[in-house]
């Protein structure tokens, strides 16, 4: 005995066939369906192979600036943990205070509401003994989901253990997003701000296209485009975008008395850690260090380490880059001497500062929101700034010709401008 496929398919609609054909052949019905369903049906094209496309829609998020969208993991999966810029500056309104600002979660479009992720632990780490190991930390998280997210502040305090595995300190304060509040001696703001960073990113990628975070390995220079755009033509790519920020103002005395080094980290819980522990997934301090000099594949290595490891790893990358562009090693030595380890240096005993001023001008140092670290970095790397070395300069790359827009900053806390 055999069973045919048709027999196996008993219950099929042979009897309906005729009615169906008649139904289908009705011009009225066809028109109705064409009107009602053609667009929806055409939508179906492709959804059938959704198995593929999702991976790549979420895998592709382009553009990176100061440290915007660092590493594939951060850019494609957890932008909430993607650190962009660190600022350390003397308070404009109280000479006894220092301000720390951390920007993360870049490229927030105008009007876009982007939430904070409760899974991420944000930390300022402060070394006040000169060994690149944190002596004090200040921790931030949000709790809750939806419109009721609140900020939790822990520290300033000694870390339970320095390094890449963190434990939470006791809670020092709580507050609302987008509103300044007090947490111990600190005034805290966590919310959305206009991205204060300014840079002609578009032209930078034309100069050095292979620093684009998705292209690896990065081929070495020479560059095919050798100039930034002139003033008036240069554009601040980040001008329309907002960013998430944490800004803290606190007494200098709570942080230290002399030179300090500051960096910031993001951490998450992972299943392999014991309860209450967070593992570091990004670290950042000096702007443009990773982007200009370091191969992308090394970014994540750097992100997962402490500043103690920077001298070996990042120095090698800087020397390699300087050699590749045909400039003397004195340039690399100068960059390494001021930028490595990757911590933002500041001298709390000094009243006012300039970018890299702790190292180069014996002033407060640090970085203010209106400082132009791109121009400083390019002027040293491609020009003769700091070193006086003129051999192999590339004049068209000394400045990106984009400066700060005063409208993007506030004179009072939290100092970073209101979002677009």
């Amino acid at each position: 005995m055999t069973i045919s496929v048709q027999q196996l398919s008993q219950g099929s609609s042979q009897g309906l066939k005729l009615a169906k054909v008649e139904f289908i052949n009705s011009p009225l019905v066809i028109s109705w369906y064409l009107l009602q369903h053609i667009q929806r049906w055409t939508r179906a094209i492709g959804i059938g192979i959704a198995i593929l496309a999702v991976t790549f829609c979420c895998a592709v998020l382009p553009a990176k600036a100061s440290d915007h969208q660092d590493t594939t993991f951060l850019a494609t999966k957890l932008t909430a943990a993607d650190l962009t810029d660190l600022y350390v500056f003397e308070s404009p309104n109280n000479s006894s205070n220092v301000v720390l600002a951390m920007d993360f979660d870049p490229l927030i479009a105008r009007g876009e509401i982007r939430p904070f992720d409760p899974a991420v632990l944000y930390q300022f780490k402060i070394d006040n003994t000169g060994d690149s190991v944190e002596d004090l930390v200040m921790q931030f998280q949000v709790e809750g989901r939806g419109s009721n997210q609140k900020v939790i502040v822990r520290g300033l305090g000694k870390p339970n253990a320095p390094g890449t595995i963190s434990r939470l300190l006791p809670v020092r304060g709580r507050g609302s997003l987008d509103q300044p509040f007090k947490a111990g001696q600190a005034t805290v703001f966590m919310g959305t701000r206009k991205d204060p960073f300014f840079f002609d990113l578009e032209q930078f990628f034309k100069v050095i296209p292979d620093r684009n975070y998705l292209l690896q390995p990065n081929p070495a220079p020479p560059f095919t485009v050798l100039t930034f755009r002139p003033p008036g033509e240069a554009k601040d790519f980040l001008d329309p975008f907002n960013v998430h920020s944490i800004v803290v103002e606190l007494p200098k005395a709570a942080v230290g008395t002399g030179k300090i080094g500051v960096w910031m980290t993001t951490s998450i819980r992972t299943p392999r850690l014991r309860s209450g522990q967070f593992t570091q997934i990004e670290r950042l301090a000096v702007p443009a260090l990773n982007e200009l000099y370091m191969d992308f594949k090394d970014h994540n290595v750097s992100n997962l380490q402490t500043p103690v490891a920077d001298r070996e790893n990042q120095s090698k990358a800087i020397r390699g880059f300087v050699q590749a562009i045909g400039r003397p090693q004195g340039i690399a030595d100068a960059i390494i001497s001021v930028a490595i380890p990757d911590v933002m240096q500041a001298d709390l005993s000094k009243g006012s500062g300039t970018y890299f001023g702790t190292q180069l001008a014996q002033n407060f140092g640090g970085r203010r929101p209106k400082d132009d670290p791109i121009d400083v970095t390019t002027a040293v790397t491609f020009g003769s700034a700091v070193t006086g070395i003129t051999q192999g300069t590339i004049p068209g790359l000394i400045s990106d010709n984009v400066g700060p827009n005063n409208a993007n900053f506030l004179t009072t806390f939290p100092y970073l401008g209101n979002p677009r």
């Binding site: 196996l8 398919s9 099929s12 939508r43 592709v60």
Partner: protein
């Protein structure tokens, strides 16, 4: 051959080790599989702002029409909205924006090429998509996309080679996990595929800011794999979870309609099929709807639904697209059998993957071309894919070809994988097995 086999084993060993190590570290993953009904984690509904974000980018592009980065960002947003809303116009917009971006600045490191390839892929323009990623810089993500396209085209050997290199270079992306899981699934390693996907989901679920549609899609995939493994409770939970996360996830409605049909929960199957087909009238979803209507004693409703399937079929043909789901529907219901065979043959010509071969086998069987059916089903099952329906098809075809041992083997395999794999065929597999054993 030996080299290929060794390479495959090596890939599987590496993936298996990653899975095993991760599972050792993972807390409570077994619990996730066996105790599924915990309170769902909700992600931020980012899709609600998509059109506003797109409008913002469109304005920026209008102001800076030569900005290749803004065009790239805009293309990415169009693709996201396509996945969320299903409007094919967004695919065309994404394609256009990506092409403009590449025209302005051709050296973008693969990022824009991936967007362009994704837009082409979603339009079923497989070869064009493959060409784009083949010519793009071979960064890990591009290699993975290439592997994924080749998997759809049925080139599993090259897929395996690409996954080998991708495994070496990076283990961090969710996309990589999804593609590896698909490869494992297709090549007969269903449990490893499930472990890999579940492990990745556990991490994704912990982040409130994961894009909702992306997370929902991963839950759908987990639901699909659970169904294939006969873990119906887990499958239902995963589909439901997907709908909580993203209420317009059509694939979740289709998955639930399939699941409830298999369990003869017809009213629920009808509800889910209605919800899915109201959003996007896919043949597979409509087929579940028609079956449910018929089972619930609504032949007029079933006829109307089948009429809609016919309209979809006609529109397919007008656009030169051949839908394997339609061929399967015809074969399953014993209608338009010549059309079913033609569609299946077109599918194999377009992309000769496991499921195109299965479609061809079943259509050939429906047309009583048993030798053709046997050749096709042997190709469809050559990797030991753990899909009960494939093995049921193989069992039936083998039985017709008087290869009783093979028939017995595959029918048993089908029922072992999932005793409720199909609302009708599961029972028929048992009947046929009883006959075979009686012989």
């Amino acid at each position: 051959m030996l080299q290929r086999s060794l390479r495959r084993r090596w890939v599987l060993l590496v993936i298996g080790l990653v899975v095993a190590i991760s599972c050792c570290f993972a807390v409570g993953i077994g619990k996730t599989l066996s105790q599924p009904l915990s309170k769902p984690e909700i992600v931020f509904p980012d899709y609600q702002q998509r059109s506003q974000i797109i409008q913002s980018y469109e304005e920026q592009v209008h102001q800076s029409p030569d900005s290749f980065i803004l065009l790239r960002l805009l293309a990415g947003q169009y693709l996201r909205r396509f996945r969320e809303v299903g409007d094919v116009e967004d695919l065309l917009r994404a394609e256009q924006a990506a092409r403009r971006s590449l025209t302005i600045h051709p050296r973008q490191g693969g990022a824009t090429e991936m967007l362009l390839a994704s837009a082409l892929l979603s339009q079923h323009r497989f070869q064009e998509a493959l060409q784009v990623v083949t010519e793009a810089p071979q960064i890990t993500e591009v290699v993975l996309l290439r592997a994924s396209i080749l998997m759809e085209l049925g080139d599993y050997e090259t897929t395996e080679q690409l996954l080998t290199s991708a495994t070496i270079s990076s283990t961090e992306s969710t996309g990589q996990s999804a593609i590896q899981a698909r490869y494992l699934e297709l090549t007969g390693h269903l449990n490893q595929a499930r472990q890999l996907l579940d492990q990745r989901l556990q991490q994704m679920d912990s982040f409130y800011t994961t894009p909702a549609e992306t997370l929902a899609w991963f839950h759908v995939r987990a639901g699909d794999l659970a169904f294939a493994a006969g873990d119906l409770n887990q499958s239902e939970w995963q589909y439901r979870q997907a709908l909580i996360i993203f209420p317009d996830e059509v694939a979740a409605y289709t998955g639930l309609a399939r699941l409830y049909s298999a369990q003869h929960r017809w009213q629920q199957a009808l509800e889910m099929a209605n919800q899915g087909s109201d959003r996007v009238p896919q043949v597979e979803t409509l087929a579940y709807k028609a079956d449910a209507q018929r089972a619930l004693g609504d032949p007029k409703g079933a006829a109307a639904t089948e009429a809609l399937i016919e309209v979809v079929a006609r529109l397919s043909q007008v656009q030169g697209i051949y839908d394997r789901a339609l061929a399967n529907y015809y074969s399953d219901h014993g209608i338009h059998l010549a059309d079913a065979l033609q569609i299946a043959q077109q599918e194999v010509a377009l992309r000769d993957d496991i499921y195109a071969e299965d479609t061809l086998a079943w259509a050939a069987a429906a047309n009583e071309r048993w030798q053709d059916a046997q050749r096709a089903i042997q190709r469809a099952t050559r990797y030991g894919t753990e899909d009960a329906l494939l093995h049921f098809h193989h069992g039936v075809i083998a039985w017709h070809c008087n290869d009783l041992a093979t028939a017995l083997d595959h029918l048993q395999w089908a029922l072992r994988l999932n005793p409720q794999f199909h609302h009708r065929y599961a029972a028929e597999a048992r009947q046929l097995l009883a006959k075979l054993r009686g012989n």
